[in-house]
Point group: C2
Chain length 431, copies 2
């Protein structure tokens, strides 16, 4: 494959950027538009989708997708009923690693005159790095991966035989990935959603699992979630944490839990998929509120009161739409994720700075200054939540979520959060 | 009243100590041993104990008792059905304030020769300071108190007319206070317990409310609790926080909530008294565990997992003995208090240092070094909890609480907490 004539300037930039894993976003993704038949499945799937050995695959090789693939591969290497190999489907980016820098210099010398560089001579395909050096140099550097993870750009090859497909792509790529997955999906396969995203449709909260079910045209029972208070790199280096596996069917929980669980990554299993996903999305709004009061000097007891109120409103809002069993709120996906996100996440961090600077520097500017390319989630989520509360006339019922919106999206001062906390309804037994 | 001949040395010491509120622990407490009749009440109390105007009193003028008295007095000054005056019963210590230092110097000059000092001339009674300067100079300095708080050393005068008595004495003085209160209690009065203490009797957890009920020989419905994620000085200076009022009867909640609630001190009302008290005691063990792993560099997601596991075991242990309604766990007394104590309390602080120093400096020594006279609670509570778990054969059922005991009371290394977290049973739906 040939790229156009690079100027010396471009080459110089490439060398500079290489240190931070400069990437040519490849167009190698095989979208297989020629596949004619769209597989559909309207019959109820069986508890375990086919006869063993079963096969597991992961779609999306970001830090979290790769980390989950690592845990699955550690397990399938030992479990008798599972195929050893775990395919990791990825966009096969060209990555210029430190090693490649030497090659790049050589290439520049060689091509000086023709102005054409062979792409393969100046970088490495991410799939090749994973399959030969067993490390995801771009998204999870320095973490050795099990050798039974096989990076595979071709979706059909990657998931065609999979009984379980872990969907690990970023939220904004979920729909486009599904449009490809759809063509190659085994009718009985289970999809495990890792996304904490959420959509708003017709004034209702719609978890990603619902979008997956609809886009793939499969039964809702086939779509499960794995969501918890997890920071990818911490789990990848085997720091203890917990997560929550949600499947509508108990048989699926029993079947799937063993491929995810590790001593350092304990899995709580629940027969609910909406609670974990929606907590995962809404908790970021609580974290914004926490940052806002922390930035104004709130002490631990005020912060814990805010977290309590935020958790209560979050449960309330979710319960308006879905029947979530009580114990789901106590799992890693809800209780622990609220704590983690309020203690250490990017949302609380930026919101704290926003309050410290008196609300005079916009969230957009702080995001650019403080997050190194990452995006805030709570400020984005607060907006459709507000629209929903207004439409349903719930702004008085959930005043804390509304107050966060007023600060992030209108000109309400950060201090207004305190006044709202003072008027939040308490739930009193029988009063 | 005359004290014995003070040497010049004693006087000098008194002057030095005055800066930190030197106190003669008075023997002025009128224990009224001559009161013959012990009032007993075996009939069911009415919902509100008598006709208005009702009277509220607080026993114990420490920082928290005084803070609660402040909130009650702010309310009774406005509420039509309540007497304005709020008696604050206290041990009438002699306090040497900065002001008194001048008097002390005068007194030394005057008595030089006789060697006898009039006690009143070298210090001030705490009651007099509160009643004239409207500040608790010893236990809540610099916080202006409402003028309708009346400090009163005489128990009979203080509580004889009270329909509500807030019990705000330190845990170790609860029983001795009850033995006095008992003689002057209105038969229909309600007691509001502030204590987060707990006793272990016959291998069961016994909340302080139970001790109060028994010692006073009153009906269990008359004993209520006010417990939350509260730091006295923060509430006293009106920083926003929440608390939980627990009464067995809904009528009592409706009757009593208005005398405690403030915009900066919101009250959740529950018809349960055991849950709040036992969370208040057991949460300190969770905080010790948190400090132990934080001191070994645990990150936010490991810490939130530990808090989740701790909360789950705490609920489990309490539920073995008492039927606590689900929503109590979400109130300030449980959910928020666990967070506050794990974020900022003394227990997590000392435990963190214990781990940082590799377990080589004992908790007793760290307590002396770091707590400025305060005592650790979690290390003390862990011991009878362990005895209970052993006796009931629950050490495998509640491994986290057991693991904390092993570190604080035996020679188990702080790192053992991590290994235990990896083996804690997860509660899986239907598995």
């Amino acid at each position: 494959m040939k790229y156009g004539r690079p100027s010396r300037l471009t080459a110089a930039i490439a060398i500079v950027l290489a240190a931070c894993h400069f990437t040519w976003l490849g167009s190698e993704q095989d979208k297989s538009e020629s596949v004619a038949a769209v597989l559909t499945n309207t019959s109820k799937p069986r508890a375990s989708s086919s006869n063993p050995p079963w096969n597991a695959a992961v779609v999306g090789a970001g830090s979290w997708g790769t980390t989950v693939a690592k845990m699955i591969a550690m397990n399938t290497a030992k479990l008798k009923n599972w195929e050893n190999r775990v395919n990791l489907q990825l966009i096969d980016e060209m990555v210029v690693t430190d090693e490649d820098l030497y090659k790049l210099k050589d290439a520049l010398v060689r091509t000086n005159g023709t102005g054409v560089i062979e792409a393969d001579s100046v970088g490495s395909r991410l799939s090749k790095i994973i399959n030969t050096r067993h490390v995801n140099a771009k998204y999870l550097p320095r973490v050795p991966l099990p050798t039974n993870i096989v990076a595979e750009p071709d979706m059909q090859v990657a998931i065609g035989d999979a009984d379980v497909i872990v969907l690990g792509v970023p939220d904004q790529f979920v729909k486009s990935s599904l449009s490809v997955i759809k063509h190659f999906l085994k009718p009985s396969a289970r999809i495990i959603v890792l996304s904490k995203g959420m959509e708003f449709e017709n004034n209702a909260l719609v978890p990603v699992s619902e979008v997956v079910t609809r886009e793939l045209g499969i039964d809702g029972d086939q779509v499960c979630v794995l969501i918890g208070a997890n920071i990818a790199i911490e789990v990848a280096v085997e720091k203890f944490s917990e997560s929550t596996l949600g499947c509508r069917r108990t048989e699926d929980l029993a079947w799937l839990k063993p491929i995810f669980e590790q001593p350092f990554f304990r899995i709580g299993a629940v027969t609910n998929v909406e609670g974990p996903q929606l907590c995962g999305a809404l908790k970021n709004v609580i974290a914004i509120g926490k940052g806002l009061i922390a930035g104004q000097g709130a002490s631990a007891n005020t912060i814990s009161a805010l977290m309590r109120i935020g958790m209560k409103e979050m449960r309330g809002i979710i319960s308006e739409f879905y029947d979530v069993p009580e114990r789901v709120w106590w799992e890693s996906c809800c209780f622990a994720d609220v704590i983690t996100t309020c203690l250490a996440g990017r949302n609380q961090h930026v919101a704290e700075q926003f309050a410290r600077r008196g609300g005079k520097v916009s969230f957009e500017m702080l995001e650019a200054e403080l997050l190194n390319g990452q995006r805030l989630q709570g400020t984005v989520t607060a907006v459709p939540v507000h629209d929903l509360l207004v439409h349903k006339r719930w702004t008085k019922k959930y005043p804390f979520f509304e107050a966060v919106y007023q600060v992030v999206a209108t000109k309400a001062p950060p201090g207004s959060i305190f006044r709202v906390l003072e008027t939040v309804p308490q739930s009193d037994d029988g009063l």
